[in-house]
């Protein structure tokens, strides 16, 4: 991140912590379409399932395959696991320390060991779901176009239930705990964008909708959204063509899909005063906690209703075509597009991660924060900015996880 201040005026804010997955798009070209889920899963170590899901949905779209029934439910279940892990990590170990006045989760652990342990246990419950269905918790290898290589037995899934039941209570306690923090005032006027499905809180399927009236099929993404190169960096900024910056992630999903949360999640949200909408990015920690509760309850529902399908995947014929997938990664909507040749190889790939979509919004938020705190010494200013960035749970490209902040004052 680079900030240039001239005569106490912000001349320039450049936030480009996120490298777009250009390498992956190029690497996929010419490879078998079946490679997409495994290779794109490596773009992010924290949310491999999201990459797998968007890629398999896109491929299935290209081939005209529909995955329904228990296989569709298992996909929602593995997504529940990823949300639980990712949200627990962010809420407890990355975000809570900001509100409790600690430099990091490690520093917080000395005084609040029970809190950290609760977070670790919740995260582990999510890991267990992903490991069982994915085959391996980081970079799962069991997801394939059409379904899974192997599906779990009912008994295997039922073994997850006791820890998920503990997690349900822990998630309710988490919502109550984090809603007691002191939140800076902020009321943002974002255009929220998320996947939306008539009957479900969104994971895998639905249309792309926004708080400013957008309601499109996933295949129309490029017609309504634009990825723009940013000068002086490799970063890409996404914008709604007609309007500009937008926001994806828990706040967007929550504001656009509140009524599809479980009754307990809705009730708890009301109890802690969150209401049906939330426009304060600092309070995203409460929203993540509500989504964690949702994911735990949804996982329990799916396991309870599960009947092992006869086949672990839907057979399909390879054909030339183009497919689109948009699913809800923990940190927001993730869009994939592939063109597949007649021989089943990838002719073209496009991957638009949530953090790339949020970059413009984060940048404008940082400018807002900077304008109000320019008088702080660099070190404190840097801390305030880091906190603002953490509100958005950005996917720091896992290999280059450095937040380099340069403040240039002239």
């Amino acid at each position: 991140m680079h900030v240039k201040v001239v005569d106490d005026r912000i001349e320039h804010v450049d936030f480009s912590i996120f490298e777009p997955p250009r390498f992956f798009e190029a690497f996929l070209r010419g490879r078998p379409h079946t490679d997409a889920p495994d290779i794109t899963a490596r773009i992010c170590g924290i949310c491999p399932i999201a990459y797998q899901m968007s890629s398999v949905h896109a491929m299935e779209g290209a081939f005209g395959v529909t995955v329904g029934g228990a296989l569709r439910e298992l996909r929602r279940l593995i997504y529940c696991g990823e949300w639980i892990e990712s949200h627990a990590l962010h809420v407890y170990l990355l975000h809570a320390p900001d509100f409790l006045g600690y430099e990091s989760g490690i520093h917080m652990a000395a005084d609040h060991r029970d809190v950290v342990e609760q977070g670790l246990r919740l995260k582990k419950a999510g890991n267990a779901v992903v490991t069982l269905l994915g085959g391996r918790e980081i970079h799962p290898i069991n997801v394939r176009v059409g379904g899974f290589y192997r599906v779990p037995t009912k008994k295997e899934l039922e073994a997850l239930v006791p820890e998920l039941e503990w997690s349900r209570d822990a998630a309710v306690a988490t919502i109550k705990f984090v809603s007691g923090f002191t939140f800076p005032e902020a009321e943002m006027d974002f255009e929220y964008v998320s996947v939306s499905h008539p009957d479900e809180y969104p994971f895998n399927e639905g249309r792309i909708v926004s708080s400013k009236g957008l309601d499109i099929d996933v295949s129309e993404f490029n017609r309504y959204f634009l990825e723009e190169h940013v000068e002086r960096s490799n970063a890409l900024h996404s914008r709604v063509r007609e309007r500009g910056a937008y926001h994806v992630g828990p706040l967007a999903r929550y504001n656009l899909n509140f009524e599809k949360l479980t009754p307990l999640a809705q009730k708890t949200a009301w109890e802690v005063g969150l209401g049906e909408t939330c426009n304060n990015p600092f309070k995203s920690i409460i929203v993540r906690s509500v989504e964690t509760l949702y994911a735990v309850e949804e996982a329990l529902r799916i396991i309870d209703a599960y009947d092992e399908p006869a086949e672990p995947f839907v057979a399909y014929d390879v054909r030339e075509g183009e497919g689109h997938g948009a699913t809800e990664a923990p940190r927001g909507m993730l869009y994939h597009r592939y063109r597949v040749s007649e021989d089943g190889r990838i002719a073209d790939a496009q991957i638009v991660p949530p953090t790339a979509q949020n970059q413009l919004t984060i940048e404008s938020d940082l400018r807002y924060v900077l304008e109000r705190h320019l008088d702080l010494p660099d070190e404190e200013l840097s801390w305030v900015l880091e906190q603002s960035i953490r509100n958005y749970d950005p996917c720091i490209s896992c290999a280059t996880h450095f937040l380099d902040l340069t403040i240039e004052r002239a």
Partner: protein, 148 residues
């Protein structure tokens, strides 16, 4: 408590950052049957889970510490972590963070050895540069000796 785990930290699609997972590949079939081999992107909580319950853990990670690429370091992870290896991350990604967190919540294995393989930088790619590839073979050999 018991058991031995070897954890290779890194991303296979990020060039020399794949040194850790590459060591895991080289160890397949060369260790006693009870030794667990784990690949990790280095999320601290995943590392805690990976060495949870083990009496002895060996972690291999690519490090940028200013030395020549391919240089191999071996440190006792229970005694802290070389400050030069620390990332500026506040995102709990990395072996140093995992060790600090593990110490705070009492989740460190009794024996914890960390091998650091020096790399120059992390950039997308699927090839290891020859010096790093050589170090991968060396570290795999040392781990086989250490655990035999």
């Amino acid at each position: 408590m018991g058991g031995v785990v070897v954890i290779g930290v890194g991303n296979r699609m990020m060039g020399d950052d794949a040194a850790g997972p590459a060591v895991i590949d080289r160890l397949a079939g060369r260790l006693a049957p009870g030794v667990r081999l784990v690949e990790s992107v280095g999320d601290a909580t995943h590392l805690l889970d990976s060495w949870g319950g083990a009496q002895q853990a060996i972690v291999v990670d690519a490090v940028v510490a200013g030395g020549a690429p391919g240089t191999v370091h071996r440190v006792d992870g229970t005694e802290g972590f070389p400050s030069a290896w620390r990332s500026a991350s506040t995102h709990l990604i990395g072996v140093a963070e995992a060790i600090d967190l593990g110490r705070a919540v009492d989740m460190l294995p009794e024996q914890l050895v960390v091998y650091g393989i020096e790399i120059e930088s992390v950039a997308p790619g699927v090839e290891l540069r020859p010096e790093v590839e050589g170090a991968v073979g060396l570290v795999a050999g040392r781990i086989v000796e250490e655990l035999s």
